[in-house]
Each structure stands twice: as structure tokens, then as C-alpha cells.
Symmetry: C2
Subunit: 200 residues, 2 copies
């Protein structure tokens, strides 16, 4: 996030078709909740396209990359590495340390897809569990980022957006970014979906 | 969560096959992050099965239900209703009010799947956006619950578990719940997956 050390999210593993939606959600969650960049496996081109499309329309400096070298990304990372896993230390026990490290150093957040090899556990500075219960890597990433940034990510601005959603007590309000602030509603109510999921 | 007003999560809409994994993740996230109950649409029997299976193995009082009456569940709810949507008010602006309401009343959290009809926006006491950016209903639910409970959900106990994951700085440690505390590791390292996602 602007003026802070970089936070990048590495999606470790992806099965095309089966994982498309989960991988896309990892990328969109990374973007919405303050990460600077997501790195997908080489075979996740469809997720890359969706996240790039959303960034183009809704703005922000977020970068999407793909790599054939997941392990290389980890071993060559210049900064600290957090691996999110239900087997890890409790987030409430280590989050302050991670926040401290992030003041000075880039953070790579590894989010597992298929089985994660033991080497990733070893390479991580912290293996972190958002609960030690099985649930969702997207949920784990969301809570981790919200706690890492202590809510600052919710105050982000989104430069270069084509459209903006204006918070409403009821209903939907989407405006062209140019018209922002002058009461026009050229975007109408045709924005995507009702929930935060636009990957339908 | 124990000794507090009930929190139930209603998954509004489900397309069998296509949405199975997302709906399952909504249910598992609800369970792991302190909700008491998830209500799925009638056609989400596979997600119901998975969440029940996880609850059987990993414990807790969590309930899973299905209903053919999504709208009826909303209109007959005795308590307050929060609808999570990227079009809603900013969570940081309304979360204190919602927490205050939850001290006295049950909370129904509506999580959209397919397009959510306008009536749901109207029926909700709060339409809440975890950012006004498109991302993931699972991520939105996770951040909402973590903020609703202010982290208390991470200290939950899980009665009647068959197995427990013990937090580790590195590697995996799973024990039979009976052996909890005595150093045995009969579960070995065969627990599910590397990330929090066990719905592979």
C-alpha cells in the first residue's frame, strides 16, 4: 500500500478449471484489501485476466503477474515470508511481530492451493493460522491483510478508476469516475452482481 | 458464539456444481470465525455434507441447515439483518452500531451468491461493504465476522472434536482429541491440504 513496504501475495498452486474461481478470489481479495501485487502460477491465465480487468475498471496500482517459478519466487524474495496455513502459529500470537517486520521490509504472503511442500513451511519466517480450523484460503488471506494493515486498507484510494461504487444505506449506486462528486449516475445500476463476487 | 446472541449466516443463492466450493467456503468460514449456524439454499446439499463432515471431525456446536425459503428466512428473522454487499455502507462506519445491536439481538448475515433482489437490500437493517470494491463474498464474510467479534472468535474452543491441529512454527501437527495435551501424534501429518481449504 502507498508509502509502505510492499506486500505481495503468491498463490502457490493452481488447477485450471477447478481452481479458477478460488484463485481469482485470492487475487481480487489481495487487491481490495491492500496488497500491492499478486503472483499467480503460470497456468492461471484466466484468473490473471479477470483481476486485470477489474483493476482496469475499478482503478488502483495493483499488479498481476504469473510465474513458472513458484519456489524461485520464495527463495529469491528479499524481505520476510508469511505462509498462511491452518497448521501454523495463531495469528493473534504473531501478528504484532509481522507488522513490525513490515515497517522495514517487503512481505510475501504465500497462500496454498494444492498440497504445499514441506520446503515452503521451512522457507517461511512465519507459518500463520487464521484459526487452526479448516475453512478457506480466501478468508484466511482477508483476515490476515486486515490485521496486517490494521484497517488502513479500507481507507485506500483508487486512482485511474473508470467507475466508482458510492456507499449506500440501501440499493446500488455506481458512477463514472469522471462524474464522481457531482451527483450524476451514468453507471446506473448495471454493475456486477450483488455480493462482492464478480467472477460469475 | 457461546453466551452471546446468535449469529447465523444465510447463503442467498447457489448454483449446484458451479458454486459448490464457494458455498462450502462460506459455510466453513462461518463456522471457523464464530457464527453459530449457516443456512444454505435447498439445492446446496453437497456443501451441507462437507460442512457437517468438518464439524464432526473438528468439533464445535456449529449447525448447518438448508431451506427452500430464503426470503422467508429473512422476513421472519427475529433480530437484526446485515446484508454484505460491495454497494453497502463502509464497514468501518457501521461496525460499532452492528456490534451494539448484537449485544441484545440475534444477527442474520446475508451473503449473496447469484444476483440478490432489491427486496433483500430493503429488508436489511444494514447493507455493509467490506470495501466498495469487487472481490469475494468469502473474504467479506471473514472480515465482517472478525470485526463483529473483535477477535474473540479466535479464542473459541472446539468441544467434541475427533482431532485437533496444534499450532506450530513449522510443519504440521494433528492429534486425536483424546490425546490432546499428552504429546501423542496419532493423526500424523495426513490432515487435509496445506492451506485452510479442505474442500478439494
Amino acid at each position: 500500500m502507498h508509502d509502505e513496504s510492499e506486500v505481495a501475495v503468491l498463490r502457490y498452486g493452481h488447477r485450471p478449471g477447478r481452481d479458477d474461481r478460488m484463485t481469482t478470489h485470492v487475487g481480487l481479495t489481495a487487491r481490495a484489501l491492500g496488497a500491492d501485487r499478486v503472483i499467480f502460477p503460470d497456468n492461471a491465465s484466466q484468473s490473471e485476466e479477470t483481476v486485470e480487468d477489474i483493476t482496469g475498471r475499478f482503478g488502483g496500482q495493483f499488479a498481476v503477474e504469473r510465474t513458472a517459478a513458484l519456489d524461485g519466487t520464495i527463495s529469491e524474495w528479499e524481505g520476510v515470508i508469511v505462509h498462511l496455513t491452518m497448521y501454523g502459529e495463531r495469528i493473534q500470537d504473531v501478528e504484532a511481530e509481522v507488522r513490525r517486520a513490515h515497517r522495514d521490509e517487503p512481505v510475501l504472503v504465500v497462500v496454498g492451493g494444492e498440497k504445499v511442500p514441506f520446503e515452503v513451511y521451512e522457507a517461511a519466517d512465519w507459518n500463520v493460522g487464521v484459526t487452526n480450523q479448516p475453512h478457506s484460503e480466501v478468508a484466511g488471506l482477508a483476515v490476515f491483510l486486515d490485521r496486517l494493515f490494521e484497517g488502513r486498507e479500507l481507507e485506500q484510494e483508487w486512482p485511474d478508476a473508470d467507475r466508482r461504487v458510492l456507499p449506500q444505506a440501501s440499493g446500488k449506486r455506481v458512477v463514472d469516475a469522471d462524474a464522481f462528486g457531482d451527483g450524476d449516475d451514468p453507471g446506473g445500476t448495471d454493475a456486477d452482481g450483488g455480493a462482492n463476487d464478480v467472477t460469475e
